[in-house]
C-alpha cells in the first residue's frame, strides 16, 4: 500500500503540496479502517456461521430468528453485549483489567498488516512477514495472562496461566513447522511465499514433498493451539474454568475477546493458505487489473474459508484435550516430528534443488485419495443412519 500511496502522491498535485508524512498517515489510517471493518464484519458473520454449522452438526438448527434465516443474529448479540454495563470487580487490578482486552485485540489485529488478499491487496509486504505474524500473535498471550491475573479470580488466573503455557510451548513446533516452507520459498515475506508457489495443487507447498505434507498438519495443529481453538481451548474450558480468563469481563471488553477469537479464524486460515495452499495464485490472467485482483481475492477467500470450515468442524467434533495431554502432544509428538521434517526438507532440497515434480503429483494424488476416502466414509455414515438427506443449509 506504500507504493500505492507513493504513486498517488506522484500523480496528484494536491497531494504533492501536502507534506508526505501526512498523506501516508491519513492513507494508512484509511487502510486500517478498511481492514478493521473487514475484520469486524468477518468476526461477526463467522460467529453466526459457526453457530449454524455447529447446529447442523448436532442435528439442531442454530440461530434462525433474527433477520432472514437469523443472519442478523451476530449484530443483535453484538449490540446487546455492547450495551451491557462494564463491570470491573472490586478486587481487580483496574488498570491491567481494563487494558488486557486491547492487547489481545491488538495482537490479533496487527497480523492483518501482512496478510495479503491478492497480489496487490496487502497493507505492507514486510520482508519479515512470517516472523512478524508469529511475534504479534504471541502478543495475545500477554493480554490473556494480564486479563487472568488482573481479574483476581482463581478461574481467570488458571485460564491465563494455561494459555501462557500452551502458547509458549506451541510456539516451538509452530516455528519449526514453518521453517520448511521458509526454506523452500527462500523468503519470509508472505507475498514471496505465495509467489514461490503456483496455482495448481501440485505447485502448492503442501504437496511439494512428503515432509511439507506432514508440516501442514503440524502447523495447523499448532495454529489451533495458538488461537485457543477447540480442541485446545483449555484456557477457557467452560466445564472446568467457568469461562477462563474472560470470566470477569462484561460488555464491550468481553466482546473484544470474542472478536479476537473469531477474527483469529481468518488469520489462521489465511496463514495456512499463504504457506501451504498457494495463496491467491490464480490460473487466469486478464488485462484488466481489477478483474485479476478480484479473481485472486475470490480464490484466496475460498481457500481460507475451507480452512475456517475445517477449524469449525474440528471444534464441534473433538473433545477438549486435558492439560497434560496438551503438553504431551506438543513436546512428545509435534516437536520431534517437526525436527524430522525440518531435516527431511533440508535433505530433499539438497537432493532435488529444483523440486521433484513426480513427487508433487504423487502427493496431490494422495490428497485427492484422502478426500475420496473421506467422502466415502461420509456416505457410509449417512447410509448407516438411515436418514433422509437434507442438503439445504437454510432450514
Amino acid at each position: 500500500m506504500y507504493e500505492f500511496l507513493s504513486s498517488l502522491i506522484q500523480r496528484h498535485e494536491l497531494l504533492k503540496s501536502l507534506p508526505d508524512e501526512w498523506v501516508y498517515l491519513v492513507g494508512m489510517l484509511i487502510f486500517a479502517g478498511i481492514v478493521l471493518t473487514f475484520a469486524s464484519l468477518f468476526a461477526g458473520i463467522t460467529s453466526y456461521v459457526e453457530r449454524r454449522i455447529a447446529g447442523r452438526m448436532m442435528s439442531r438448527i442454530g440461530p434462525n430468528r433474527v433477520g432472514p434465516h437469523g443472519f442478523l443474529q451476530w449484530l443483535a448479540d453484538g449490540i446487546k453485549t455492547f450495551q451491557k454495563e462494564d463491570i470491573i470487580p472490586a478486587q481487580a487490578d483496574r488498570a491491567l483489567f481494563r487494558f488486557a482486552p486491547y492487547i489481545v485485540f491488538a495482537g490479533f489485529f496487527a497480523s492483518f498488516v501482512v496478510l495479503p488478499f491478492s497480489s496487490a491487496l496487502i497493507i505492507s509486504d514486510l520482508n519479515v512477514g512470517l516472523i512478524y505474524i508469529f511475534a504479534v500473535t504471541s502478543f495475545v498471550v500477554v493480554g490473556i495472562l494480564m486479563a487472568g491475573w488482573a481479574s483476581n479470580n482463581k478461574w481467570s488466573l488458571f485460564g491465563g496461566m494455561r494459555s501462557a503455557a500452551q502458547i509458549v510451548s506451541y510456539e516451538i513446533p509452530e516455528g519449526l513447522a514453518a521453517l520448511p516452507i521458509i526454506f523452500l520459498a527462500g523468503t519470509l515475506s508472505t507475498q514471496g511465499i505465495i509467489q514461490a508457489q503456483g496455482w495448481a495443487p501440485w505447485d502448492w507447498f503442501i504437496f511439494h514433498n512428503p515432509f511439507t505434507f506432514i508440516a501442514f498438519f503440524i502447523f495447523y495443529i499448532t495454529l489451533l493451539a495458538e488461537g485457543n481453538r477447540a480442541p485446545f481451548d483449555i484456557p477457557e474450558a467452560e466445564s472446568e474454568l467457568v469461562s477462563g480468563y474472560n470470566t470477569e469481563y462484561s460488555g464491550m471488553r468481553f466482546l473484544l475477546f470474542f472478536f479476537a477469537e473469531w477474527g483469529n479464524l481468518w488469520v489462521m486460515g489465511a496463514i495456512m493458505t499463504i504457506m501451504f495452499l498457494g495463496g491467491w495464485q490464480s490460473p487466469f490472467h486478464f488485462d484488466n487489473a481489477l478483474l485479476t485482483h478480484l479473481i485472486e481475492l475470490l480464490i484466496f477467500t475460498a481457500k481460507t474459508s475451507v480452512i475456517i470450515f475445517i477449524t469449525i468442524q474440528l471444534r464441534w467434533t473433538l473433545p477438549r484435550v486435558r492439560v497434560d495431554q496438551l503438553m504431551n502432544v506438543c513436546w512428545k509428538y509435534l516437536v520431534p516430528f517437526s525436527f524430522v521434517n525440518l531435516f527431511g526438507v533440508a535433505i530433499w532440497m539438497l537432493v532435488f534443488p529444483n523440486g521433484f515434480a513426480p513427487m508433487s503429483y504423487l502427493m496431490t494424488l494422495l490428497g485427492v485419495l484422502i478426500l475420496g476416502i473421506f467422502i466415502r466414509r461420509v456416505i457410509y455414515n449417512l447410509k448407516q443412519a438411515h436418514v433422509e438427506i437434507h442438503v439445504n443449509p437454510l432450514i
Binding site: R56, M58, S59, R60, I373
Partner: protein
C-alpha cells in the same frame, strides 16, 4: 514396545479424528430434528405427542361419581372436591362398558394445576375414568389463580348445593316408599299363605 505404543498413538489419533470428522460432516447433510415450537411447526405439537402423554388434567363431569378417590390419591393435595347428592342415575364407563350407579356429583371440583406434578395417580385411582390427562400443555398465564381449573361453574355449584336437601328428601321418600312397598309385599305374602292344596 514403547516405540510401538508411540506410533500406535499417532495412528489412532489420526484415524479417529478422520472418522469423527466424517461423522460430523455426515450430520451436516441430515435434517435437523428440532421442532420449532410454537410458530414454525407443520402441525400442532399436541398432535405429535404420544397418546399417553401426561398433560393438563381434564374431567368429564358426567362420569364423575364424586367418590373422592382421586382427591385421596393425590400426593400433594391439588384436587379439591365438594360432593353433593343427586338423583340416582346410571353411567356407562366408556372404556369398559361397565354400568355404574351415580348418586353423588361434585359441586366443586377444583384442580390446582400449578401444584400438579403430572404424576397420574389420580387418573389411576378413578374407577370411571372421569379424570384424565390430555395432551394439552400450554396454559401460561400472568395470574396464579387462572391455574386453578374449576370444572363446575359457580352457578351450577350453587344450584346443586341448593337442590341437595330436596334430592335427599326425594331419595328418602323413595327409600321410604320402597321400604313401604317391600313391607306391603311381605305382609301380603304373610296374609295369603301358599295354597295348602
Amino acid at each position: 514396545m514403547a516405540l510401538n505404543h508411540y506410533f500406535n498413538n499417532i495412528v489412532t489419533a489420526t484415524t479417529s479424528i478422520f472418522e469423527g470428522m466424517s461423522i460430523t460432516f455426515s450430520h451436516l447433510l441430515r435434517k435437523p430434528v428440532t421442532i420449532q415450537y410454537p410458530d414454525r411447526v407443520e402441525k400442532p405439537v399436541q398432535e405429535m405427542l404420544p397418546a399417553r402423554y401426561r398433560g393438563i388434567l381434564d374431567l368429564d363431569i358426567n362420569l364423575c361419581t364424586a367418590c373422592t378417590a382421586c382427591q385421596r390419591a393425590c400426593p400433594i393435595d391439588c384436587i379439591h372436591i365438594d360432593e353433593v347428592k343427586v338423583d340416582k342415575t346410571y353411567i356407562i364407563v366408556p372404556e369398559t362398558g361397565r354400568k355404574v350407579a351415580k348418586i353423588k356429583s361434585p359441586a366443586v371440583f377444583n384442580i390446582n394445576i400449578a401444584k400438579c406434578m403430572y404424576c397420574g395417580l389420580c387418573t389411576e385411582a378413578c374407577s370411571t375414568s372421569a379424570i384424565k390427562h390430555t395432551p394439552k400443555f400450554e396454559m401460561s398465564t400472568d395470574n396464579l389463580n387462572n391455574l386453578i381449573l374449576r370444572f363446575v361453574p359457580p352457578e351450577e355449584s350453587e344450584r346443586l348445593k341448593a337442590e341437595e336437601p330436596e334430592v335427599i328428601k326425594r331419595a328418602e321418600e323413595r327409600k321410604a316408599a320402597e321400604a313401604a312397598a317391600r313391607a306391603a309385599a311381605k305382609a301380603a305374602e304373610k296374609k295369603s299363605p301358599p295354597d295348602p292344596e
